[in-house]
Symmetry: C2
Subunit: 194 residues, 2 copies
DNA sequence: GCACCTCCGTAACGATCGTTACGGAGAGGC
DNA sequence: GCCTCTCCGTAACGATCGTTACGGAGGTGC
């Protein structure tokens, strides 16, 4: 169980720098300080290795969101912090966003990865919907779901763009864009507009 | 010049279905109905082939935005339509979004592709900023630029998410999310909020 | 102490990759 | 009619890929 974590960490490192294309079993083994024998023995195939690394990454981001959601804060601030936790605001999360983008692209051609992506994203949408509803007295779910779609897409896009052009998409700009969108979404959901 | 376009079209087709990983020179040749000899003769390397296909895709989306921007419409409607032109609302643009995502991920590890991506996106941001400013009397560029960042990220994220989970991210939801964001952005830039 | 079983490094297999070398087909000049 | 040059199909090279086979190391049961 510890070995699988180490191997997945190695997968993330390689994907972050070489992309999914360059993530060969040998490259991962070298990064992890072992041989392809261990990897094939534990996972059976490269595809299974990638799937496991993807799952673990999803668990990691989910745990982070859980922890932040448990912190004491106003509902609006909680929503903002959870969304900000998915933004590449430090070097660790920049690497994470790189890996995230690599796996997203790989999911286009790989059904197993796509299913993990879909599951994770739908859970993410439900979380956002719940947090949005908590910011006011609105009980109608539909507008909150629509707002969640917009916020999820915004965070997704900000992450990709920041990874590809960090000079243009600075940390302050990411936070500013997020704050504006959160404010607009909560205002709209809570009766700001029919 | 015509041959290069045909080969680039073949690249898009293969990337859309197999991802960048599966886009081998042989696969592109087979799709285009030629051999690797032609591709290597014209481009010299796989990397150059991908770069050319990426450039052509950028030109295509740019031309589409230009055409829509030239149509008669209110400034707000023009902004909305240009943004909507980047959304995967028909099967052709779904494939395009798949390719877009593939190239974005490849740009993480390929400096040449990253530079194209950055150039294209900065031009896109300038276009959005200009369109936003045209929706009102505001002359201060900074708020418009910030709004452009948010809208660009939203469209980028919607495209990725719709490609990976078209059942959840339906066309109506994409348009609804876009409309809400455009409305919020124009309202904010034009004095809706200090 | 012997058999057994798990774990993993080593080595190699076949497939596929990007790339190169070569040769033929066809057009144009003279 | 011949030379030349461009264009591109053919074939093969070396590298690298995912995967498999095998064997040794080390613990466990008896």
């Amino acid at each position: 169980m510890e070995t699988e974590r180490r191997l997945s960490q190695a997968v993330w490192d390689v994907v972050a720098t070489q992309g999914i294309e360059g993530t060969s079993v040998r490259a991962v083994a070298e990064r992890a300080g072992c041989t392809t024998g261990l990897i094939m023995h534990r996972f059976g195939s490269r595809a299974a290795l990638l799937v496991h690394a993807r799952r673990l990454m999803l668990e990691r981001t989910t745990a982070r969101a859980d922890a932040i959601e448990a912190e004491p804060a106003s509902p609006a601030e909680r929503l903002r912090r959870v969304l900000a936790s998915a933004l590449p605001l430090d070097t660790e999360r920049v690497d994470e966003a790189r890996v995230w983008l690599g796996f997203a692209a790989a999911a286009v051609a790989d059904p197993a990865l796509r299913e993990i992506q879909q599951d994770g994203n739908r859970t993410w949408l439900r979380r956002l919907t719940r947090l949005i509803l908590a910011t006011g007295e609105a009980v109608d779910e539909a507008p909150a779901e629509e707002a969640a779609v917009g916020l999820a897409a915004l965070v997704e896009g900000l992450g990709s763009l920041a990874v590809l052009d960090p000079h243009t998409y600075t940390g302050e700009r990411l936070e500013r864009a997020l704050d504006d969108a959160v404010q607009a979404a909560t205002w709209r959901v809570n009766g700001g507009k029919a």
